[in-house]
Symmetry: C2
Subunit: 469 residues, 2 copies
């Protein structure tokens, strides 16, 4: 069957095609270029179900895609041209908002920022927040169990979801859109579809948790002498601020140097340099004054005990945004610096200092002059442990080291019972790498579930699960 055939068949089934299919076939990081037999853009759950039923009958693989902002190629088809790309982008309605139950029900294609906005207009907070929030969609956030900057307090995307609507691999609609905090009436299908990257079915809608809007948010920037002190500060902050502590990010001095260089308009909050910094945010249910008093007491105590050498609390929303911009501009600055090797590792928080010390040393020995761009969500044990080439080194020569660098980084992760993908998922980028760090029995359990729910292997094939042994 040719592309034209399938497109014509879909139109005959009443399923619209995507207006600009080309934009859907390359991933965000431009690592993967796929082809597709057709790019469908259904506008309703019923249309998705019809599409999937048709594909199941005709044995056509399906690659679901949301905002196409994923970092592991999970939404890009292979280059065989066999698959249909299923864009959820047009399914972007907010179906319901229930402020008394603190829930919002949205379709998979809703852009995250629009969900945040709808919640805010109803006087509520939807706390999922990440760099791509202006483009990424809720369906993709759930399919990859997205993390972001407020996981410390509110959890991952998984923790923010109460119910799902899913089109199964057979093209049936499972209506699991329950807005319940407690429901023990069977297996946890919801959490199985969440994080499955579209390989078990297509998430078409979700009922999500809302929270009260905080009365005030406050940001602080603190210099710490080393990673150990940052971890100790985290534990002190959790004790003193309780669950008001909503973000706790680590930034190395080299990260700030890169930002200084490539964003010359940015200003450092502190006068002197320090090996590491911490960016903290508190979300206070009382008032800005209360948040301020708690932060000042915390930082005073931390300075006295030597955990913090200097600190600044943002005096305005503009200043708070400037603090956050330093953090958010790190990956951009690193990209401007040239090619680099990215990681998204997770380890127990108690292992982070040792992890960074050991891995820095091992990489420096293996690739002389290599520069570590260490930053990320310390509060969740998740670092974007990226590496850039030595000054003056050739980018392509450096990138040839990627397998060796990954091996050093991931074997250190494995030694600390960590994760090689804390928040980005596996997609096609890491699915085979995963074999070295997952037990055979866990992979067998995963394969058994895949076989049970998608026996024809039509749902996003070539993602998540490794090639058969």
């Amino acid at each position: 069957m040719s592309a034209t055939d399938l497109s014509a068949q879909l139109l005959a089934l009443g399923i619209p095609l995507h207006a600009d299919p080309a934009v859907t076939l390359t991933d965000w990081r431009k690592r993967y270029q796929g082809t597709a037999r057709a790019v469908a853009s259904p506008g309703s759950t019923d249309e998705v179900a019809r599409l999937v039923s048709h594909c199941a009958r005709e044995r056509i693989p399906i690659v679901p895609q949301g905002g196409n902002t994923g970092l592991v190629g999970g939404g890009t088809p292979d280059d065989s041209g066999e698959a249909v790309l299923l864009s959820l982008a047009r399914m972007n309605r907010i179906r319901a908002i229930d402020t008394e139950n603190d829930t919002i029900t949205v379709e998979a294609g809703c852009v995250l920022a629009n969900v945040q906005q709808a919640a805010r207009e109803a006087g509520r907070l939807f706390p999922l927040s990440l760099a791509a929030e202006g483009s990424c969609t809720i369906g993709g956030n759930l399919s990859t169990n997205a993390g972001g900057v407020q996981v410390l307090r509110y959890g991952n995307a998984r923790d923010l979801c109460l119910g799902l609507e899913v089109v199964t691999a057979q093209g049936e609609v499972w209506d699991g859109l329950r807005g319940l905090r407690k429901d023990n009436t069977g297996y946890d299908l919801r959490d199985l579809f969440i994080g499955a990257e579209g390989t078990l079915g297509v998430i078409t809608a979700a009922t999500l948790k809302l929270f009260p809007l905080p009365a005030a948010q406050l940001t602080a920037f603190a210099a710490v002498p080393d990673v150990e002190s940052a971890v100790a500060l985290l534990n002190l902050a959790k004790r003193r601020l309780g669950s008001s502590l909503t973000a706790f990010e680590l930034i190395s001095e080299f990260c700030l140097t890169l930002v200084d260089q490539h964003f010359p308009q940015s200003r450092r909050p502190l006068a002197s340099a320090s090996p590491y910094y911490v960016l903290m945010e508190s979300s206070d249910s009382e008032s800005a004054e209360h948040a301020q008093a708690l932060f000042e007491a915390l930082l005073g105590e931390a300075i006295e005990s030597g955990l913090v050498t200097d600190a600044a609390v943002a005096a305005s929303i503009a200043q708070s945004k400037a603090f956050w911009a330093l953090r958010e501009n790190i990956p951009l600055a690193q990209a401007m610096e040239g090619k680099n090797i990215k990681h998204d590792i997770g380890v127990p928080i108690s292992s982070i200092a040792e992890y960074v010390a050991q891995t820095n040393a091992a990489l420096a020995a293996a690739v002389p002059g290599i520069r570590m761009v260490v930053f990320g969500h310390l509060g969740d044990g998740n670092l974007h442990y990226n590496v850039s080439p030595a000054v003056g080194a050739d980018d392509d020569v450096f990138m040839a080291n990627e397998p060796q660098v990954n091996q050093i980084v991931y074997e250190a992760v494995a030694r600390h019972q960590g994760s090689i993908s804390a928040e980005h998922g596996l997609g096609q980028l890491k699915r085979n790498e995963n074999v070295h760090y997952k037990s055979a029995i866990e992979l067998r359990l995963m394969r058994a579930i895949k076989q049970a729910l998608d026996p024809l292997d039509l749902m996003n094939p070539g993602k998540v699960l490794p090639d058969s042994p």
Copy 2:
């Protein structure tokens, strides 16, 4: 094979038998009396794996059991005498505690109160808390996804678990004991085994989340004119107290009357009677004074707006315990009053007032004089909507109404997209009832997963899944 044969075989395999098998064969509520071919009491994961392997080879069904405090017969074998009962009670070691990572790793047979205690001794909080905590075990808590009184702030058992060790139906050990807040490297097997009531495998150990100990806990008791006001008070309290609000329980006047009658030493906190009351708890990260000030401001505001007619804040830990005893003695008082029909329903919080009004009216019309014992975890949308016979009615005549009463209660639940088992699970009590309130497709997905992980149907057969159609 006779019971003696199997017991001898298990001993030959080095698997100890239970010293007092009789106590394991009747459920907590004494609704079910099972028999077993043998009652094994292994002391290690390796012994559990050997037992399960042997049973898989010999096609012997296995019923796992923790503290035997479940309320739906999930841990009781049927009366065929075919199954082996697998008691996890001897697997009760705390394996590790990591205060810097805020995690504790415990074996399945650890009694919940002992886990709480171990956490407290390390200066941390393990927040799962429920009436049976002195006897129930972590394995059972996870297998039933237990709820309790602090779900509003800390979530269900599911939300408190980061990693599991599981013996699969094939007798293999899956070591998923990861202490990571973020890990997106495959399907969420953890949440599949949690809440599966032992029908997919045997949980042998878990890595659980710990939290900072609050600086102060404070309890308040407030009279509210109706359920609507209780819900409005909940939303006000969430806004004013943020996540310091750790419990929010509803109690009807009739509940307190029963407690007055059967626990004559108990004292009501408020002078006059009210249709409903709310028991609230705050866990404050600052101080008792701070908690007190927030509670007083909240209650003042609520009294001014008419949501609350009278309120008392506990002035001491003893008084706080006395407030909680009123709540905890409700099921005991109801039992002393005679037989009764229990429910464990969940509905969206926005539907609770309507649910209670409609269901009260429907039951009163169907069974004249019936008395509703309405209480429970309003903050989670979960009520123990129990009913007692009319004054002077014959207990057994009343109990004959159980199917009709359940139907009225559960059909109202279904109309509000609720749950017929919010926190107790299905076990053998509700698995067939569930067919009327679950979609055929959801049941099919559940069966596909059961078939994938336990194709021989040896893991706790006759639980959770309904009889085949």
